[in-house]
Amino acid sequence: MSDAKRAISANADEIEEIAAHWIGRRDRDDWSAKDQEELDAWLAQDMTHSIAFWRLNAAWQRTERLTAFRPSTVGAGSFFDRARPALLRSAAAVVGAALLGAGALYWLHPTQHRYTTTHGTREIVSLSDGSQIELNTDSSMRVSATRGERMVWLDRGEAYFQVKHDAAHPFRVLVAGHQVTDLGTKFSIRTGARKTVITLTEGSARLDDADGAQAHAITLKPGDVAVATADSVSVTKLPLHVLNDRLGWLRGVLVFDNTTLADAAAQFNRYSDRKLIVVGDAADLRIDGTFPANDTAAFAVIAGHILHLHAKDDGTEIVISR
């Protein structure tokens, strides 16, 4: 079919191959300005070059640290079963370890301490190694800091970790089936019914399965927000000022930026037994500002004033409505 008269050039495959090679090459650490010039020249040679490159580059960019795939609970025949043959082979060993673990829990962690906060309280726990954990409202964790390891189990709620890095004694946080290992870090973790959110503000940390299998670890960098559910993890990046707003609780405040009243109420309700209830379409109204986390009543008054709403306080709950 290679008729000389055809209008359509029969080289798409070849061009795509070259474009793909450029993408593989550009990924190199030693990619230089001169390399870029060469690439630009190739792209400028023909519009079809640019188009082929754009197309592949779009696919390339979609893979960028988007998701870590984790063993699905359904699992059979999934990506992981094949990607992790070593894990399957060691299934017997895992079963053995689990049996040991059940009985050994108590005496293996003789120095384990539990810390729990109630609604509206925060607690700062300083460890002997210089690390510090700030436990937010309505949260619970266990800490075990022995000579060999530093372990925290975040069982409920939210905590902010400032870790003194020590490569010889890794600092691990186990939360909802995930494991975060400090690589010199400040990070916060908030765990809820369905998902766990890890926010990294400084340094770096590794996120992994609780079983410590490192085959699919992701390394978190400052600004990364990882949202982990039972079978998936996605990472997004947020500007630092947004992160600081989210960590307002460390300063005892809640920071809202175009936040719906419903979300704001939910956040206040984490901090107080006196519940804030937003009724009807008032829930969709949005509010900005910084508010003391422990003063739900003040927020209700201010929000009511700004948004022209009624706030009714009966002592146990505050109802906001139009």
Binding site: A20, L43, S50, A83
Partner: protein, 197 residues
């Protein structure tokens, strides 16, 4: 002049010469045209052309669409894309001089359903991860491994090379062939013509 091609999606279009002079053309192509590729491939495959010519036909369609977009971005893009595709097929048949009887007429009558709206953007975003996962799953094992280690786990190329016992050049090759297959799976639909969603 542009030193961060990976973070700036528009940085790969060179300004002068025979290439691209329109800023934003790449972003437009990626956001508006590429999502229609599966439908375009379905149309081209159905046209009775030889399988090995489909990639060339697609290239021609994209070329004409982008050349047109240089002067004016066509809107809406879907009917425009399919009109171009039909013209490309007609030209192809005429040049080949092996026009099957009634093929052109059939083509004219071909229902390309240009008024059917494409998938809505939020639905695409929702299924994006699932598609990516399914596509990664279909890569040859070594390609998949290299691509995942590099792009998702962020290992350095040196780490990958030493872990898998391959050279950096081989890493480049795996990444290149991996990204080609991935693009076909993500945009063209699987090469076997199966539909995924």
């Amino acid at each position: 002049m542009r030193d961060t091609p990976e973070t700036n999606p528009e940085a790969t279009g060179p300004a002068p010469g025979g290439g691209v002079a329109v800023p934003g053309l790449e972003a437009w192509f990626v956001e508006e045209v590429l999502p229609l590729e599966a439908a375009l491939m379905h149309f081209l495959r159905r046209s009775g052309q030889h399988a090995h010519e489909i990639a060339d036909l697609r290239q021609e369609v994209y070329l004409r669409v982008c050349e047109a977009a240089k002067t004016k971005i066509p809107h809406p893009v879907r009917p425009f894309l399919f009109t171009v595709a039909r013209n490309v097929l007609i030209d192809q048949m005429r040049r080949n001089r092996v026009i099957p009887i009634d093929a052109v007429a059939e083509l004219e009558a071909l229902d390309i359903a240009t008024d059917v709206p494409g998938p809505d953007r939020s639905a695409m975003a929702r299924s994006d991860l699932r598609r990516l996962r399914a596509a990664l799953d279909e890569l040859p094992p070594r390609c998949r491994e290299v691509l995942i280690l590099r792009r998702i786990e962020g290992l350095s190329r040196r780490e990958i090379a030493s872990r898998l016992g391959i050279t950096d050049k081989t890493v480049t090759q795996y990444l290149a062939s991996g990204v080609r297959t991935l693009a076909n799976l993500l945009y063209a639909g699987s090469e076997a013509g199966r539909r995924r969603g």
